[in-house]
């Protein structure tokens, strides 16, 4: 059948759909074959990859480097966490609260931070995230600050499924990942996504073609921030903990590293980068307590020899149409 109809298979939308469905099927299959330790890791990686995908919308596709995404991740995490912990809300509406909280925070931060560009934008987003982190500590009475709080197992039941069970947790992470990957894959093929790429490539030219560059950038911050928030909310729900650590600078740097390693401006780069870095640290820490040294040497080598990330190498050498 494929031989008879090469036209359909070469269409970018079809190719993209097939590739991404393939990845989802692979991830579903991996749960069946992987030992529990690794499938648990993979659930965590999928949730964090959603964070990286959100970051990639802004960094990889729009060309805006933010150093404050931990704020959006934490907005989602606390939106869900505080709703469940203090208001005894059930997971579904709490998830919604997490999404709305990230949406609002990214909308406001985006509107203010986008008054600057370049290095100033990096610094302003970093400052907003620090202010967010300090706010969490300031309201320690409710947020329990650094110590954080645990969401009780009995509350983490979504549509009758106990999310503390490995299979349900993996399923939950996979569903979130699938929705977000589908969304991003569709977005980058859409008119909106192509405009973001145009802004990344040549902002002045995009403006002089009549595009409202400022509005597109703001929308990109909102989409990016809300996806990051979805990841933060899901992280709290699936792994049962919310704490101020997730709002620190470190958590703003992580998605940047994941995206750089995996391949900025590719749909699958964020997953690849998150997976790679997670296991890089996991494996190297089995051999030595200086695991960060090993990790950083490998990161430096990769940045030197694969500046476009792992997916970037694949795109350059093997599959030029990689979305």
């Amino acid at each position: 059948m494929t031989a008879k109809n090469p036209g359909i298979l070469s269409h970018p939308v079809t190719r993209s759909a097939l590739l991404h469905s393939g990845v989802i099927v692979l991830l579903a299959w991996l749960f069946q074959v992987l030992p529990e330790y690794h499938s648990g890791n993979l659930a965590r990686i999928m949730v964090l990859a959603v964070y990286a995908m959100g970051y990639n919308v802004l960094f990889g596709y729009t060309g805006l480097l933010s150093l404050g995404h931990a704020l959006f991740f934490a907005a989602g995490m606390y939106g869900l966490g505080l709703s469940m912990y203090w208001l005894d809300a059930s997971p579904a509406p709490s998830m919604l609260a997490g999404l709305i909280s990230a949406l609002v925070v990214s909308g406001v931060v985006g509107a203010l931070a986008l008054r600057t560009t370049g290095v100033a934008f990096m610094i302003v987003t970093l400052m907003f995230a620090q202010a967010g982190f300090l706010t969490i500590l300031l309201f320690g009475e409710y947020t329990r600050g650094d110590e954080g709080f645990v969401l009780p197992q009995a509350d983490r039941v979504l549509f009758g499924l106990d999310l503390t069970q490995p299979a349900n947790r993996y399923g939950g992470a996979l569903i979130l990942f699938t929705i977000c990957l589908g969304l991003v894959a569709w977005l980058v093929q859409s008119r909106f996504g192509k405009t973001l790429i145009a802004i990344r490539e040549n902002e002045e030219r995009a403006r002089m073609l009549g595009y409202d560059v400022q509005r597109h950038k703001w929308l990109a911050v909102v989409v990016s921030g809300t996806l990051s928030g979805a990841s933060g909310a899901a992280y709290a729900l699936l792994f049962g903990y919310a704490g101020a650590t997730f709002a620190t600078v470190q958590y703003s740097i992580f998605p940047l590293l994941w995206v750089l390693l995996g391949g900025a401006g590719t749909t699958l780069g964020p997953l690849i980068g998150t997976l790679f870095m997670f296991y890089l640290i996991d494996i190297s820490s089995q051999f030595t307590s200086a695991y960060l040294l090993i990790a950083s040497v490998i990161l430096i080598l990769l940045t030197l020899f694969a500046p476009h990330g792992l997916a970037g190498v694949v795109r350059k050498r093997l599959i030029p149409w990689l979305p």
Binding site: K194, A198, E201, N202, E204, M208, L209, D212
Partner: protein
């Protein structure tokens, strides 16, 4: 009928008078050349027309409405197209996608319309064979043509070409002259140009800027005969 006019348009850069009190008017359907020695304020003037450079004083009226307060992208949306003096294409995107980005801005931009428009624009500048080439891999002359194709795909009412023949070879300039004449069938053309040969052969009227002010305006023959222009510009060349 007047398509575009300015009243008292001025620009000061920290005390430097780049453009001073310019009253300018452009009729629908004409090909107008804007010439003047280096530093005469041509690019600043045009930048104020399309909104890239905010005016210090004065008014820009496009098709009967005052567009002075509008941002660049809003003015473009009203039906202006601007091609850059220094080639500015999306180097890492394909030639086709470059033109498609221009075509998608229009209100009737269904995927089919966009495809048709892109094909037509590429065909007009004879780049249809290079649709899949990355814009950055095109030769310089072809990149200039791509700029024009991007303008064509916007179906503008006013086409502003900022030194379009700069860096083109002789034979490329010849075909460019033809292209400008076909542009003027549907649009009004404002051409900023250094090449006098191109100006004299394509423009119906010429405006001469000198020291940020209009020095002369008229048909190519009148401009050629003007002593003031001779003194300021042509004579020195």
């Amino acid at each position: 009928m007047t398509l575009l006019s300015t009243r008292g348009l001025s620009k000061q850069y920290a005390g430097l008078r780049a453009v001073h009190d310019v009253d300018f008017s452009l009729e629908k359907g004409e090909i107008r050349a804007l010439i003047g020695p280096n530093g005469a304020g041509k690019s600043t003037f045009v930048g104020m027309l399309c909104g890239r450079i905010p005016a210090s004083e004065g008014q820009v009226v496009f098709d009967g409405s005052d567009i002075t307060p509008l941002a660049a992208h809003q003015r473009i949306s009203l039906g202006m197209a601007y091609t850059f003096q220094i080639t500015s294409v999306f180097a890492r995107l394909s030639t086709r996608e470059n033109v498609a980005l221009a075509a998608r801005r229009l209100s009737d931009s269904t995927p089919r319309h966009v495809r048709e428009r892109v094909y037509k624009a590429l065909e007009q500048v004879d780049l249809q064979d290079r649709a899949e080439t990355l814009a950055g891999d095109l030769s310089y002359g072809h990149q200039r043509l791509l700029e024009i194709a991007m303008g064509l795909a916007q179906s503008p009412r006013l086409f502003i070409l900022d030194e379009p023949t700069q860096g083109l070879a002789e034979n490329e300039i010849e075909s460019f002259k033809q292209l400008v004449k076909t542009l003027a069938v549907d649009a009004t053309v404002l051409l900023i140009e250094h090449n006098m040969d191109v100006v004299m052969q394509t423009a119906q009227r010429i405006t001469v800027l000198d020291f940020g002010e209009i020095l002369a305006e008229g048909t190519p023959a009148e401009i050629r005969a003007s002593d003031a222009v001779q003194a300021a510009y042509l004579g020195t060349g």
